[in-house]
């Protein structure tokens, strides 16, 4: 229980020395290592947090991008469908127009064919009619019919148009004008005289009348004055009938 001053002071010094030694050898390096590890852990945690935030940001970014892609895909799909619909409508309209054109062409072609067929039928009918009329007239032709036709011609000569009369007057020459008169049957003298009188009245100058018989005229006469030809016969009428059929074609 005794108190020793030397021990007292030596213990104080001892403790202070121990404190200094432990501070140098123990606490300081140990606390530094702990602090260093704590810094490392904090840094690692911070880096992990940063990495996590970056990963989350990237994830959000990718999700946003994916949504954008989805929206763009939808928009592109709608646009594509619209384009397809527009193209389909265009092609359909074009097809309808082409079909309409083809239809019109076909209608025109059909109508033309029908027209041609009709014209051919008319032509054939006219030819048949002409042939039938020719056969019929050949069987009914006679000198009396020819006399009537000649009389009709004589009557017509007195009422020729002015242009024809003036043209005939231009034939005036010093030479005699040859006029060829062809008939299917021999013309009676009475009709010859009437014809010559009428022609002399129309043409001033000497006229050389020449008479021929041409059975192809069936009935009637044909007068050739230079380049002029006056027809009053059935063959000419029938040929005019056939020419009409050709004109139709």
């Amino acid at each position: 229980m005794d108190f020793n001053v030397s021990t007292f002071f030596l213990e104080i010094i001892n403790f202070l020395i121990l404190l200094w030694v432990l501070q140098r050898l123990f606490y300081k390096p140990l606390l530094e290592v702990i602090a260093k590890r704590k810094r490392f852990i904090d840094q690692t945690v911070t880096e992990a947090d940063t990495t996590r935030q970056q990963a989350e940001a990237l994830r959000d970014q990718y999700q946003n991008r994916q949504q954008q892609w989805e929206q763009e895909k939808q928009v592109a799909l709608v646009s594509f469908n619209q384009q397809i619909e527009a193209e389909r409508t265009l092609q359909l309209n074009k097809l309808v127009a082409d079909l309409e054109d083809e239809k019109q062409k076909l209608q025109v072609s059909v109508s033309r064919q029908q027209e041609e067929f009709k014209m051919l039928a008319e032509k054939q009918a006219l030819k048949n009619g002409a042939r039938f009329a020719a056969l019929l007239l050949q069987q009914t032709a006679s000198d009396e019919l020819e006399a009537k036709l000649t009389s009709l011609l004589i009557d017509k000569l007195s009422s020729l148009p002015d242009e024809c009369s003036s043209s005939l007057n231009l034939l005036k020459t010093k030479k005699s004008i040859p006029i060829k008169i062809s008939s299917a049957y021999p013309l009676p003298n009475e009709l010859r005289e009437q014809l010559e009188l009428k022609l002399n009245a129309l043409i001033d100058g000497s006229i050389n009348f020449q008479y021929f018989q041409a059975e192809e005229l069936i009935a009637g006469v044909r007068i050739d004055i230079g380049s002029w030809e006056l027809n009053a016969n059935l063959q000419h009428e029938l040929s005019a009938f056939a020419e009409l059929a050709d004109e139709i074609v």
Binding site: F9, L10, F26, Y27, V33
Partner: protein
């Protein structure tokens, strides 16, 4: 108990407690040096053990003085480590605990006394630190002074009395009953050594924290 030996070194009388203290200091210093020779960021088992000890002490100090923990850690930790080993040294046959010597416990108590004032003045300044003796009323100044002295004396006497009585009881039982009889007392010595070291260190910590935070709000 009066068989203390002294070595005269000039005017100094070196007691057995001082020599034991030197031995303890040597052991602690060697252990500290060995355990901190190769400190790595990834600790081995020894480093993990010492880090656990220091971390536990640090947490205990921070729980009492969160703002000044690192400042007083070396003093309190050294006090705890020294007292723990010094209290347990008595279990080794032929050795006595230095803390069974009143001179040693008084020295430690005086160190605590001055340390409290030192850290208080260092943190608060002299005027501000001395002002707390006048609060809440200057009338209480004598009581403050008596409290300072009595608690220091109590620190010294408590530790000295407990350790000395344990060793004396063990010696008496050994003398009366033989070799195996003091074993329960020795086990009690271990527990008591741990408890007394903890109490002394914790009281020192509270005194230091009180001195450092005496004028701070919410202290």
């Amino acid at each position: 108990m009066e068989n203390e030996f002294y070595v005269a070194l000039g005017p100094l009388m070196i007691s057995g407690s001082v020599i034991t203290t030197w031995g303890i200091m040597l052991v602690i210093a060697c252990l500290a040096w060995i355990s901190t020779r190769h400190l790595e960021r990834l600790p081995d088992s020894v480093q993990t053990t010492v880090e656990t000890i220091v971390s536990a002490i640090d947490e205990a100090i921070l729980a009492v003085a969160p703002q000044h923990g690192r400042q007083i850690l070396p003093f309190i930790a050294t006090l705890w480590l020294f007292l723990l080993i010094a209290n347990l040294v008595g279990l080794i046959p032929g050795l006595h605990s230095p803390t069974r010597d009143l001179s040693v416990t008084c020295a430690l108590a005086v160190l605590v006394f001055f340390s409290a004032h030192w850290f208080g003045i260092k943190n608060l300044g002299l005027k501000k630190y001395l002002r707390h003796y006048l609060s809440p009323s200057p009338i209480l100044l004598p009581f403050h002074l008596i409290s300072e002295l009595s608690r220091t004396l109590a620190l010294a006497i408590r530790l000295f009395g407990n350790i000395m009585s344990l060793e004396m009881a063990a010696m008496l039982i050994l003398l009366v009953a033989g070799f195996l009889a003091p074993i329960p007392i020795l086990m009690l010595h271990i527990i008591e050594a741990l408890v007394q070291a903890y109490i002394f260190g914790m009281l020192a910590l509270i005194y230091l924290a009180g001195a450092m935070q005496s004028q701070q709000p919410n202290s």
